[in-house]
Structures are given as C-alpha cells and as structure tokens.
Symmetry: D2
Subunit: 450 residues, 4 copies
C-alpha cells in the first residue's frame, strides 16, 4: 500500500493512501495551486498569511476524509432513511481536494478585472479531456469527472455530499478558518474541529449536528464572525486591493491603446498575460497563470513610461495602501466635497480613489452572497427532530443576518499629511481634513479650526 504523509500544522499529519487522491495531487493542475496564495493581498496586513491554495485544498481533503470516516458509523440501510452512503466516499474526497482548482492569482480582484469565474473554471478543468486531473479521474471511473464537477456546481443528487463541500459548516470553511487563523496568527479563528465532526449526523436533506454540542457550534460561528470582522474585511488590505485593481485597469487601458495604434505590445506584458488582456483565455492558457505571472509584470511596470501605472505599481510593491473612511448614509454628502480637493492635490480620482461597493463581495468565497440560498445549520434534537441553530442559541441569534463589512471611501494617504509651513498644498490638505477627522467622515465647523 503506497502512502504519502504530509506534515501539516493545522491537521498535524495528512496521511493519503487512496490511489485516486495520490494521483490527483501529482497532477499539473493541482500542483499549480502551490503558487497561488490563499488570501491574496491579506499578507500586506497579516504579514505571515502567505499560505497557498494547495495547502488549503489538501486540508479540505483531510477534513472530508475525517468526516467520511465518522459518517460511516451511520450507514444508510435502506432507501430514504437519511443514512450515509459509503459509496459516496470517493466523490466526496475528490471534490474536497479539487474544489479550488479554478482559482486564478489574487482571485477576487483578478475575476472582477478579467471577467473570469473560478467556479466555472474548476468545473471546466475537471470536465476537459485534456487535463491531467480529468484523465486521472476518468481512469478510476468514467463517470467521476461528471460527478465531481456536479458537486462543485451543487447539482449532485446526494445532498449530504453537496452540504459537506458547500454549506455554512462545510469542509472548505472549516479548513480555511483554522488555516487562515493559524497562518495569520488571528487566534479568534480556532474552534474544535474534532468535536464538530463527532457531532455530525447524516439526515435526509444534508448534515445535522447533535444538540448537545451547541457550545462547539456556537464557538465555530463566533470564530467565523470574528475572522470576517478582523481579517477578511480589514480596511488596510482593501486599501491595497484598490491599488491592485486600479493598476490592472490602467494596464488594460494601455494595452488596448497600443493595440489600436498597432504598436508592438510584446514588450509591455509577458506573453502569458496577453490572452487575459484580450478577454479570451483558454483553459490551457489559464493554467499557465499563477501569482508570479501578475507580480512579475507589476515588477516590470514599476519602470513603465506611463506615470500612473509606474506609480501605482510602486505603491503596490512598496506597500503604500490608500487610506479609507467609512461612508454612512448621513455622511455620504461630504464625498462630493472631497473629490475636487483630491484632484486639486494632483491625484487622478479615477485611479486614486474608490468606493468599496465593488469590494463588498471581494471575499465572496468566504461569505455566500444574498443571491445564493444558504443552507441553514440544523441541530438534531434528542427526539430526532431538527431545530434551526439560531432558535437554539442567543449568541448565534445576535449574529444572524448581520451584514459584514461596510462602505468605505479610499483616497491617497497624502491627503492626511500634517501641514508643513510653506507647503503649497497645505491649504488643500487642511480643507480635506475638515471632512476627514479621527478616522471618520464628518464636517468640522470652520470656527473650530480657526
């Protein structure tokens, strides 16, 4: 029996001896995930959050494997009894391992700029006959590619398998919370994984949790809440993400200008990015991309003759995030006063400011949007009935339906500079700071300043 042992600080050891999984790990497409960071630019704030989608994917497999072992204690005996079907093990483990296969570099920024969809790519990679992943899956079972892709698409008939890959407590979320906490050092993100798995019971429409484990489930929900508040929506990381978005937008504009002018553009971007810039990328071309593809171009753009592109690249590489303030309905009116001041100070507001509306869903992977129906968490009562979690816990109730994040307005940090005597811009900055004070958008009466 061939076995491969991965040391993993989150799960201690990951022992793989399923031949299918071993071969999937060795495919080109899966190995690519080593070169894509799990949390994109979050390492500019949590400097140790450098972990890859590879380690996360392996972790999701491990969580799924532990869950499968546990569920085998509650096997289905006859049709419709809600038991676990042991034959689903392989589909579950493969889907767990492969669920992030279609992610691009700096995933959410990348998708919004280049109009790609990582869930679609994941399915396409699995279904495309040319990929190693497809070939390995099909070698083990011809129907496996179709089955695994449909789990990712949430159309697979077995709802338990779907719930274990995509629901409010699934193998994906459980690994990423623990892993992001471990690597960022955000101690809030920990919860008792072994206990949660022990509490799982297969039920007809998915997976429920034994009522006696309420405290453990509460702890998971609180951890998730705190990771969103503290890590995933951190305003400074969003201030870097705005820069990344704007510099990519600027590079697309320049690319298209050059194209229209029939200039040679090969010097402008490395060849692997071209299909992206032409909005026409094949699966094979997509699989050539990793974090280095983007990052090395930014390295080169630092020396671009286009001042905006060069300056934004420098800000991204040297970590000069935009500053931001929260916009509330009652303070939104002041934005109109800010924009001309920023232009007066010499910044093109198109590239140097942003409202964060586009970033609300920046970490959508982690937070199902309202458009998609969420599966509730159900607690299994001693008498066999189910009760929705928030009806059982005042703690969870307090957090239910709370929308994470906030609307923010981003602008150059220079606008908050202390006024130096003799600085020509001093009066502009001073006026700006009448509206942005103590980290909030507000208006300070003139007389106070005088």
């Amino acid at each position: 029996m061939r076995e491969k042992v991965f040391r993993d600080p989150v799960h201690n050891f990951i022992h793989v001896n399923d031949p299918l999984i071993l071969e999937l790990i060795d495919t080109r497409e899966f190995q690519r995930l080593r070169r894509i960071k799990q949390l994109g630019v979050a390492n500019t704030v949590f400097h140790t959050a450098e972990h890859s989608r590879f380690s996360h994917s392996l972790g999701v497999y491990e969580v799924a494997r532990q869950i499968a072992n546990h569920l085998e204690r509650f096997p289905s005996q006859k049709l419709g009894d809600g038991g676990w079907k042991v034959a689903e093990r392989q589909v579950l483990l493969a889907a767990a391992l492969l669920h992030d296969l279609g992610h691009g570099p700096y995933s959410h920024t990348f998708e919004s700029i280049f109009k790609t969809d990582h869930e679609k790519f994941t399915q396409d990679i699995i279904l495309s006959k040319n990929t190693e992943v497809h070939q390995v899956l099909a070698k083990f079972d011809e129907q496996l590619p179709e089955k695994v892709a449909s789990v990712i698409a949430k159309t697979y008939p077995n709802k338990q398998v779907v719930a274990l890959i995509s629901s409010q407590i699934d193998a994906d979320r459980m690994d990423y919370l623990l892993r992001d906490a471990y690597y960022s050092g955000a101690t809030y993100g920990t919860f008792d994984l072994a206990r949660i798995i022990h509490l799982m019971r297969p039920v007809e429409d998915g997976i429920a949790f034994e009522q006696k484990g309420m405290a453990t489930v509460e702890d998971y929900i609180v951890s998730r809440y705190q990771m969103y508040e503290q890590v995933y929506f951190h305003p400074v990381a969003r201030g870097i993400e705005v820069i990344l978005t704007h510099l990519l937008k600027r590079s697309i504009e320049l690319f298209q200008e050059q194209k229209q002018q029939h200039l040679k553009i090969e010097h402008f971007v490395t060849p692997d990015l071209k299909p992206l810039f032409e909005y026409n990328v094949s699966i094979e071309q997509y699989l050539d991309l990793d974090d280095a593809s983007i990052l090395e171009n930014i390295n080169l753009w630092r020396h671009s003759s286009d001042k905006v592109l060069a300056e934004l690249s420098m800000r991204f590489l040297d970590r000069k995030p935009l500053k931001s303030i929260e916009i509330r309905p009652e303070t939104r009116q002041y934005l109109a006063k800010l924009r001309p001041l920023i232009e007066d100070a010499g910044f093109n507001i198109k590239y140097y400011t942003a409202e964060n509306d586009s970033f609300d869903t920046a970490y959508d992977l982690y937070h199902p949007t309202a458009k998609h129906a969420k599966t509730q968490i159900e607690m299994l009562q001693p008498d066999g009935s189910l009760a929705e979690l928030s009806t059982q816990s005042p703690l969870v109730q307090a957090l239910t339906g709370r929308s994470y994040g906030n609307a923010r307005y981003f602008f150059p940090a220079e606008m908050l500079m202390e006024q130096t005597t003799g600085d020509l811009m001093a009066p502009v900055y001073q006026e700006f700071q009448r509206y942005v004070h103590n980290g909030a958008l507000t208006e300070i009466e003139n007389e106070i300043l005088d």
Copy 2:
C-alpha cells in the same frame, strides 16, 4: 507615541514603537523581503513552509528587542566590567531587522549560479547613499549605516552585539528555528525562547547562559539538530533544488549562445533578469528581483523551444523531483556504472544527474562552515566562571562536531520505474536497479535477480 502592532503567530504580537525601526520597515528595500520565501524550495516538501524573509526579519528584531530589554538589567557600570551598554540598543535592533536585506530569490541556488553574495549585498544596501534604508539610518545618526553594516560584517567592536546577531545561539537562529518549525509543522523545532533569554548574561567576550538553565539550552541544541536532519537537508527538497540549478544553468547557456549569435534576446528573459545573466548587476537592479522574477521566467520557459529547458521547467513547476541515494566511500565505485545507463535511457547526465557536494553548504546560512570560526556557547557557573556547553552536557557532547547532511547522487525518477513488459527501456531500468535498491547504492548479484 506612534506604535505599530504586527500580529505574529511565533511571537504573538510584535509591538514596534521605535521611530527608526518604524521607518526602516516602511522602506522599499525592506518591503521587498515580503516577496522572498525564507526557505526557498523547501515548500515542495513541507507544503506549508511559505513564509517570507520579511516575517523572519521582523521576528529577529522582536527577539533582539526582548534580549535588549533583558540585558538592560545588567548594565555596564565601568569600562571592561562585561556589562551591557544600553546605548547599543539601536544598533542591535537595526542590525537584527536588516541582517537579511541582501538576500536574493531562492537564495543559495541563486548565489551559486549568479555568483552573488547576500552578506555583501546586505552591507552594500545599507552603505549605499541611494537606498531608502541608508537614508533612514543616516537621518537618525550619520554613523549608523557604518555601524550596522559592521555588525553584519562581524567587525563591530562590541562583541556582545555581534554575538547576538551571529553566533550559535543568536536572535537570527532563534527566530528561524521557531518560525521554520511553526510554518513547516515540524514540531521538533520548538524550544523555550523566553527562558533562554532569561538565562542570558552579558560577559566580556559576548553572551553566556546561566548554568541552571542547562536543560533549556540542551533542548535548543537538540531542536536545531533535528531541524537540520529533518527539514533543512531533506533529500527530496534537494532533488528539486538540483532541477532549479540545472534549469538556470541551461538558461544561461542559451542566453550566451543567443548573444554570441547576435540574436534578439529580449524575448528570452524578462528585462529584470538580464543584468544577472550578464554577471553585472547593480544594487538598484538587484533590488528589483524577487521570487516572482525567477518563477515567472520558469513559467515562460515551460514553453521554450529548447527541449531541456522546457522539460526541466515543467519538472520544477509540476514538482517532479530527482530521486537520490546516499554515496558512501565504499559504494562510490558504482556511480561509474550508473551514468552510462542513465544516458542509455535518454537523459543528458549534465542536466539530469548531480552529486550533492555542492549542496553540503546549501543551507550554509543555518550552519556556519568550517572556514568561519564559531563562537562557543558558554555556561556561566555559580562562581562566575565560564564552561563550554559540551563539557556540561552529555547530550550536547553527542551532537558536537557531527557533520550534517550526506553525499547524495541524484538521477531521474524514471530509472526506478517498474519494468513493464514491452517497454524498450525495461532492460536498462532493470540493470540500473541492480545498483540502486531499497533506497541504497549497492550491487545485487545477478543470480539473486534471476
């Protein structure tokens, strides 16, 4: 008082409020370290070891800060009393933060291929008037660049400061052991940092440790031993490193061929690598390089028209390490038999095999070579005398002078393939496997195989 708080899982929080350190962190040269992995290719074996030199450097600063706070309890009262000079604090902290500034991407491989020296670059960056780091240091104290550079060069007059940055138990090693253990998941690497610091005493020629803390020092030495044996010299990571070395060598050969033929070479490598390939790189050019500079080129070389370069790039990206066996004096003779067989199987031995002699010092950063005199660890006795560590501990004595690593011969994994009937190469593989059996270099008599 401005303060910046870094969450760091190894030290929990790193609180920086020294204005000099705050400004140094914000320099372009220090921010570059975010984009260079601490352990190079080790993440191909320890898949979570993705941490950067930035986080390590910050960690060394934090260890140095804790040490400085501790040593201030033992201040020098008069010349030559062996006490700690409080005025050295700033030099110590700056040197701790900046000690790795000159590292290039994939440091050790890079240096051996491109003939660079990271310690030299560290000093040059600090001393060059054009760098932000230099300007910040000089702004605080004109002599600071010179002082900090001389600590790195080990020529600084205060031996305590030098010992805290470069010795067998210094701030650098203590952070990297803990950090590499945390990120690789290798539990062996842990030891009691707070206790070791508490045991430190300034003495005339450096830093000693109180005898009563022997067990803690032993634990550190054993941790270090195990990290070398288990992580730093892992044969599979070396099997990837050989591929990286050979593909870079091949790319230099191709670069020089094209140059001699006066071909346009701009398409071949991205512009930032050219100075390297011409062995003529300025400080400014050097500071443009990071892991992505190398990695993106390998991404592009995957599609090179040169078969060897393309194939090695694929092996590197898709993680197909060379296999290896230990060479002992008595088995070295068999290598002569192996080489022609590898060529018969269609591999150019120049690119597909290696002896590891060049890798003995691959992690030289972590293991002072014989050429450099090592500072002994001294234990402070109750009567004030010093005793060298290994004279006090049978455990340490057992490990003293033991050379880490071993000589290995690397070759393509294909040579170990099971023989498939009808495979033309089967007899070659079979002959090879007479010499490489059960992971060892040996000779199996023909009759046994028959």
Copy 3:
C-alpha cells in the same frame, strides 16, 4: 537579588523577585492553599480540573505584575489626571496574591453549610496579628495589612487597584478563566491575555480598554459566557454538590443529636472539624482545614452506622451523582407529583432531592450577584471619551444581562431505571418517568405510554 522561578503552564514562567511576595508565598497560610482545589467538585465532571487555589493565586499575582508593568507606561503626573500611581504596585501585587486566602475546602458548599464567609476570613487573616501573612506584611510596611485588606473589601481609595482585583475584567477572572480552561480542557475559555493587558489604560474611575481592541474584549466575554454555560454550571457537578451538601447536613444533625445525648463524639469526626460543627471556629482553627479534612471524614463516614450518612458518603466517593431536570414556571406543578413517588421508591426526599435555588450562587466567586453593583467595562474612544462595552458590540449586547444557570430539580438516578419485569418498584419508576422524559420535566399522557 534573590529570585524564585515557578514553572506555570498558563503563564509559562512566573518570576518572583519582590522580597515581600517571596516571603508571603512561604507563609503557612499561603501554603495551605496548595491543599484546596480551585473548582471544588468540578473534577467529578472535568476529571482533570484538579488545580489548587495556590496555583490560581500565584497566577493572579503574575497577571497583576504584568498589568503593573504595563500601567507604569501611563504614570500619574499630577493629582486627578487619571494616571497610574507607581507607588501602588506593592499593594496591588500583595492583594492579588492574597485575595483567596480565606477560602475553605469545597468553598461554596462549605460556606452555606457552616455559615462562614471566605472574604471575611481573607481580611481577618490579613489583619490578625498572629498570622505569618500579617507579620510579613507589617514587617515591610506597618500600614500594609490594613491597605491590602481594604482592597479585598473594595474600600481602598484607589479605584484602579480595586478594579484590577474585583471587576468584570480583573486579574482574578483573567487567571481563573485561562487556568480553569487549561486544566479542564474546555478550549472555550481561552482569550488573548497579553493583548488585553496591552489595551488597558488607567482612567480616573478605574481601568478602560482601547476601542481598537474590541475584538479581543469580545473574545474574553464570549469565553466567560461559555465557561459558565459549559463548566461552572454543569448539572452533573451540581448533582454531586447536592450530595455533598446533604451528607454534611446529615453529619451535623448526628453530631448535635449525640451532643444532646451527651455521647462521646470524638470518634465521630476528626478533631479539626469539631469547631465547625459547633459553629464556633477561630482563625487558627480555620487555617487547620483543607480538602483532606472534609474528604477523610467522608472516607470514614462511608462506614457509619447511620445508613443515610454512609450511603450518601458512598455516593460522593464512588461518584453516583443525583440526576436532574430543569424546572420552568409552567412545569413546576409536576414536582408535587414526583416527590411522593420518590418516597414510595424508598428515598428520604430530605436527603435525596433538592431544588437548586441554593446553587444559583454556588459559583458566586465567578459571578457577581445582583446585590453587588458591577463595574461596567468601558472602552476608551480615540477622542478620549468612554463608551460602555455593550453599546459598542452587538455580540456583547446579546449576552448582557443574561442570567446564567437554571432552576433544576435533583433526584436519585434510580428513578430513571428501565423497568425490569418482576421488580417491585417498576410501577413507581414507570409513573415517575411519565413526568421526566427525554431529560425534561413534562407530562406524558397515559394513552401514549400504553
């Protein structure tokens, strides 16, 4: 400088070098705390929660020491500026160390039975001229006993010192939450102590926390909530506590009967318990008591000629807790049906049943009762104003004012026995189980059972 190092898994190392604290630790009265468990009978449910009040007290000292070091960064410059007065350090540390000095064995049960008050005893021991603790304090400063006792009594003029010993986030609670979590294995109880201390700011009426640390304070509050729900109010531990209470009551009754009958009672209890049984215990006699004083008597009572005392002692020693159900206003009516059934089954309801009203305050140490005004937690805003915690956090708001625990009715586990054919008591048990079903007090209609 004499220093003593205590290894402590909660705080890693506790370094004591203050001569006053060193001498206080060595006193007879403080050493007695080694022999009193922190959590009384909780180890019957959390089998590893065996830690002593000694280790907790040392831990509170350590937390206070870390706080004092932190607060010294914000010294008072002039009267009424809200700064920390460095001269209070010694009073703070001594009060932290000694705050639990007056605890008896199995504290809360003990107090309700023997009519003692541990806070009163703590103050008396400190103020009594005959104790070693008093003598050590007075040796260092004649006014110290009075000052330290008044901190315990919450009458000390410096409100910051009082808040650090007795408030919603004080050194006492912070140590016991971490310690009880560590020793019980209840992972919920952890929070980031170093961070909380870092957030502390002295203000005129006590101690506030910087607003930016909201997540850390939230985490502490959630931890506390979960420790109460999961550990401190665990119904099975209360089922053991009821037994302890009843067996002590029974022993007092027997003691008094024998006394009235002028029987020799020296054989009945060990001499150290006699003053307690006579409700007339001096400080010196009180200090002779520890957990073993109670436990060894129960060991002996197992062989008592009084059947009730012997049987309850056996239940206590062999861990046979009473079972319990929650009483809600609408189900309280059924209790009247249960009591006669329990008597029919042969149990004296005086000794074998209880309502838990007396246990609501069983862990009062951990939960300030309504009678005492609680100090709010105040968050320090960027502009220097204070805002009460729950106004800033929806999570805390959800938990504010929630009363912990519940009213429970305790009865012998035998009443829930499955009915064995031929058992004379079977119909009684069956009738009882009509009212106690699935862990709840309810009434099941006859027809359902039939």
Copy 4:
C-alpha cells in the same frame, strides 16, 4: 449505543463506547484513583502537577485504544506471522485502564514505609471475587480477570499486549510523559504521539517502529530523558519526600510504643490507617485509603504532643524541604564531619538527615530497575529486519545506559543560615558551611574563611 465523552486536555476528547470499559470506569475501585495524585509530592516543586491517577489511567486506555485501532490494519492471518490478533483488543484496553489500580497514596514513599506492593495489589484487586472490578470483568468473560491480571504480571502469552502495557515505549509511559509535561508545565516532555502510533508495527516478539520515523522516536527518548532530569528526580521534591518518610516512620514508632504500653491509640491515627500501622491490611481496607487518609493525619499530627512528629508535620504542610548536596565518591568522607555538627545544632539526625539511596528507585514506576530485563526498542528496516534503536541513532546512543539521579545527602535548611551576630549556633553553622559551599560538598581551608 451508550457513549461517554471525557474532555481531556492531553487527548482532547476521550470517547468511550465499549460497554466493558464504561462499567469498569464506574466501579468503586477505579473511582478511588481520582483521589490519588499521579506524582505524589512533586506538586511541592511543580505547583500545578496536581493530576490524579484516574486521569492518567483513562489516558492510558485512550492511547491503547488508538494503538488497537492502528494495529487492526496489520491483522494476523495465520499462526506465527507476527500480525495483530484483533481478539486481544478487550484484554489490552482493560489492562491499560486498570494497570494502576493498586496504587496507594504517595505511592513510592508509602510502599517503602508500609511494605506494600502496588503491582501485587493491582493483580489482587482484579482477581478478588469481592471487588466491583472483578465482578464487571467476569460478567463480560469469566476468564477476563485472570487474563488482565497476567498482563499486569507480564506473564500473558501474547507478547504484543504485554509490550503495549510494559516496555520502553508503552501506552503507560506515553500517557504519563505527555500528562506530566502538560500538568507540570515542563515543555520538554512533549513528543508526537499520533506519529509514534502510526509508526508501530506488530512483530513476532512485540512491537517495532518503522525506521523512517527515527526522528520521532528520538524525540520521545530525549523527552523522557529530560523529564527524569528535570522533573522526576528534582532534588527539592526529594527533600520533601524525605520529610514524609521520616514523619511516617516516627508515627509508626509512636503507634507501637503506645500499643506496647496498652494505651488507647484510637485518638492517634484515624481508623482507616490502623491496619497499615499493624502491617496487616486487607484488600478492602487498602481500598479505603487515598491521599486524604495520609494528609488529614498529618494535619492532626501538626498538633501532636510528640515534638518530632509535630515539627516534621509542620515542615511537610508548610513546605520546608530539607536541603541537599550531591555525594560523590571523593567527597563522601566529609559526611562524617557534617553529622555531629547537625546534632550540635539540635537536630536528631535520624529524622532530619538522609542519604538518598532509598530514593534512587523513588520513581521506579517510571524507570525499570536493573533487576528487571528491559525490552529493547526495535526499528523495523525497509527489508523487514529489526535493528535495536541505539545502533541507529547517535542521539539515543549518547543517552543509553546513563543512570538517572544521583546520591544526595539531605539536612535541615537551617544549617545554611547566614550567621547572625549573637546567635549561639553561629559557630556551628559556620563550621558546617566550610563543607557545604556553592551547593556542593567540599572542604574549604580555614585560612580562606578567616
């Protein structure tokens, strides 16, 4: 399926669902272990090491359960193939749970004073028809008591089962090292339990470990070495143990004097200790004893009219350990000088001094004595052969055969008092300190002192 979940910080959760184990845990004899500390008096030095033999025993069961699950992957197919016999599971688990059943309070001191043998008592309790443990075992399988007792006696025919309970790496040692480390805070004691279990392979004569896991086994051996050096043989704990030994000896002498004089002795010791003092204790009487039985008597003896007993009891309760120095062959001669000086200072050397020869085996449970043959640790090579551990590891070789502990001479701390002018004893102390200096036994020339 009834299941009981124990939270345990060392193993996270211990899930018990084997009906035999569930019933064994509920027996009177097993519950008694809750009231006996695992490490006796060690908590006087490691103040948090308060854990019980109950939690250790449960932990050994859990380790054995994990091992049994692992070994079931290597089942015996035919006689003599060295595979694991699945049918041995129940014997293994029961023996693991019950292996410490016969321990008395303060085990090793107790045994040497009262001439008992805990291994013998363990077997007797299992075999005696009157114990609950026996009855539960026999109910499940009539032969089980005999089988389990023979595992404890190491005479059970299946050598694998015996090795898992008593060998150099067995379930007992693995739990106690981890547990003692967790509760004492001695971080040295940790090693990777899950990995060690994963490396286990059943072989004909016991259990071997896969060669590839050498580093993990090394780590275990080093942990064990450090726990002995740092925790189990700590000289201060031995200084308390000497006091306990001497006070128990003194109490036996007084007991026998009173008996010879036909005095009423019931007041002198609590009734449960009498059989011990008469060296005639039945199983049932033995099972009445726990730590409180000894401790409460010492509480009472503090007020004894016998000065020596009262004074030693005070020293024990108030933690006044004897001091000690190491005796080496070349310094043993000075002991003859010390004894009369100690007598001159007013101490009876019979009760106030000791050589530690009797303590060499104080933690014999943890360290098989030379008399008993030790099972070697065997490493399973890739070719199926076995190699003894120390031949494979220079680290282990360095520790092999090293005898732990040392010979020490114990004496009252008063002898090291600084000389106060006017103290009558000053010259005696001064003379003593000529021989005991800087923690070592030596002789200082008169002229130096003068």
